[in-house]
Amino acid sequence: MTRFHSYLMNKILWFALAFCIALTLNFLLPRLIPGNPVDVIVSEMTTGGALSSEAAKGVYTAYIAEFGLDKPMHEQFLRYMGNLARGDLGISFARSPARVQTLIAQALPWTIALQLPAILTGWTLGNLLGVLTAYRKGVLDRGVFPIFMFISSMPYYCLAIILLYLFAVHFTIFPVAGGYSFAMTPAPTWEFFRSAAEHYVLPFSSLVLIFIGGQSVGMRAMSIYELDADYVRYSRSLGVADNRIIAYIFRNAMLPQITGLALAIGSMVSGALITEIVFSYPGIGSLLFGSIRQNDYPVIQGITLLIMIGVLIANFLVDIAYGFIDPRIRARTIGER
C-alpha cells in the first residue's frame, strides 16, 4: 500500500497546487481591468441616468469600501481568501444586497436537474449505440450512426436554437422560455411540476442528443479497436458465443468511458451555460449571462470558482480511481492508444 500512499500524496499535492493557482487567477484577473470594476459600474449607472452624480459618488465609496478595493493588493487577497474560507462569496454588484452564494444556490439546482439526467441518459444510450454499431454494422452503422455523428459535431447551442425555433416558435408545442410558467411561483404543486416538465423537454433533448452523439462516436471507435484485438480472434476461433465477445469488448472499451462520465459530471456546471441562455432557463448559465452584462464581478467570480471546484474534484477522483486499478491493466486498456 505504500506505493499507493505516495501516489495519493503526490496527487493531493498537485491538485492543491492547481487549486491555489486557480484561486489566484480567479482573484487576480478581474482586478487587472484598467481602473477598477466599480468605476465601470458606477459610470454605467450614471450614463444610464439611474443615478445622479451625487448619489453615484456615494455608491462609489460604499462599493470601494465594501469590496476593500482601497486596500493594497495583498490585503485584498487575504480578505478574499478569508471570506472564501467562511463560504462567503461577497455581495452582488447588480443585485445588492443579495449575497453571491444565495444567487448561486438558487440557480444551481436548475442546472443540475437539467444536466445530470441528460449526461447519464446520453452516456448510457450513447455507449450502447456505439458498441452495437461497431459490432453489428449493417443498418445501424450505415443509417442511424451517421445521423448521430452529424449531431455530435454540431455546436450544442446551435442544436438548442434550432429545436427552440422549430418546436416552440414554429410549431408551438413547447413553451419558448424559462424553467416554468412566468405566472407561477415555485411551489410543490401539481401544476408547477407540470409546467416545469413542459419547459424541461426542449433543453433536455438538445443536451441529450449531443451527448448520445459524442458518446457513441467515441465508443464506436474504441470498440472497433477492441474488435481487432487478438483476444477477440482467439475467442472466436474457440467458438465463444457472440454475446460473450460483445461483453468482453464492452467491458474493455468501457473503462476509459467511465473516466469521461466522471469528467462530464464534474464539468456539468459549465457544460450547458449557453443552452440555458437560449432557453432562458433559470440556471447558472442565465445567471452568468446577466452578470456579465451588468459587470457583476463578484457573481462572475463566484460562478467561475464553482466551475473550477467541480472540475478539480472530478479530475482528482478519476486519478485516485486509476490508482486503484492495476497499472498494468490500465496500461493495456488505455495507454496503448
Binding site: 498537485w14 491538485f15 497546487l17 492547481a18 493557482i21 486557480a22 487567477l25 480567479n26 484577473l29 478581474p30 487587472l32 481591468i33 484598467p34 465601470v40 454494422k137 452529424f150 459535431s153 454540431m154 455546436p155 447551442y157 446551435c158 436554437i161 434550432i162 427552440l164 425555433y165 416552440a168 416558435v169 414554429h170 419558448v176 422560455a177 471507435a221 472497433i224 479497436y225 481487432d228 464539468s267 459549465s270 451555460l273 449557453i274 441562455i277 437560449v278 452568468l288 449571462f289 456579465i292 452584462r293 464581478y297 462572475i300 467561475t304 466551475i307 473550477m308 472540475v311 478539480l312 479530475n315
Partner: protein
Amino acid sequence: MTVATSEHASFDSGSVFLTGLRKFFGIFGMINRRLLFSGCMLVLVVGFGVLGPIILGRDNPMKTVGGLYDPPSATLWLGSDNFGRDVFTQLMHGTRTSLIIGVIAGLEAILIGLLIGTMAGYLGGIVEEVLMAFTNVVITIPSIVILILLSIAISTRSIFAMGLIIGLTSWPWTARAVRAQTSSLRTREHVDIARLSGAGTLSLIIWEILPYMLSYVVMAFVLQLNTGILQEAALSMLGLGPSNTISLGQMLHWALLWESVRTGAWWGFVPPALFLTLIAFSLLLLQASVDEILNPRLRKR
C-alpha cells in the same frame, strides 16, 4: 526482442513506408466521398468569408441599411438584424472573423503544444517532469473559466487578442500527445543512428522526430481550429466576444438578446447557426476521413 519476425509483422514492416507513402499521396488517389465533401465545404466557406466581401463590395457589416428585422428581400438577401444591419454582409464578415480567430488560436495551440511536448518528450528527466506538471495543472483548470476571466480582464478585445486568449487555453492536450509521441519516437533506432552520425538535439528533433508527427500535427490543427471557432462563438454568446466587430457568435448573441428566435425572425439566427454547424461538421468530417486514410484499422471496414 522477438526471436524472429512473424510472417505478418514482416509483411507489414517491409511495406511500412510504402503504405506511409501511399497514405500521403493516396489522399489524392483514394479520396473518399467524405473527404471530398468536407474539403469542398471548407473551400466554399473560406471563399465566402474571405473573397465574398471583396467581390460583392460589401465592406461594412456595421452599416444600418434597414429596420428592425426586415425580412429577406431583393436588396437585403437575408434581411436585416435588430440594428437594421444587413445579415448577409454580417454573415460574410462574421465567417471571416470566426475563421481568423480559429486559425490564430489553432496555430498558437499547436506551436505551444509542439514546443512543450517535444522538449518534454525528448529531453526527459526533470525538464519533462516540470513541463508536464505545468501542462497537467493547466489541463485541470477548466478553459472556460480562464477564458471568461481573461476576456473580462481585457476590456477591449481585438480579433487577434481573442485568438491568442483561446489558443492559450487549448494547447495542453496537444502538448500531452506530442510528448507521448516524442518520447516513443526518440527511442527509435533511426534516432540513434542519426546521433551516431553526430547530429545535435535540435536537428534530431526537426529532421528525425517531427516528420513522423506531421500527419498528427495536421490533424491536431484541424481539431484545434474547430475548438477555437466554437470557443469564440461560446464566449461571444456569453457577451464576451471581440469588440467593435462581428463574428458568427456575436450574430447569435444579438439574435438571442433581441428575441429574434421568439419573434420568428429566422434570418437573424439560422444563417450563423447553420454556418457554425457547417464549419464544425466539415472540419470534423475532414479530420475523421483523413484519420481513416492514415489509420488502416478503421479503413478496413
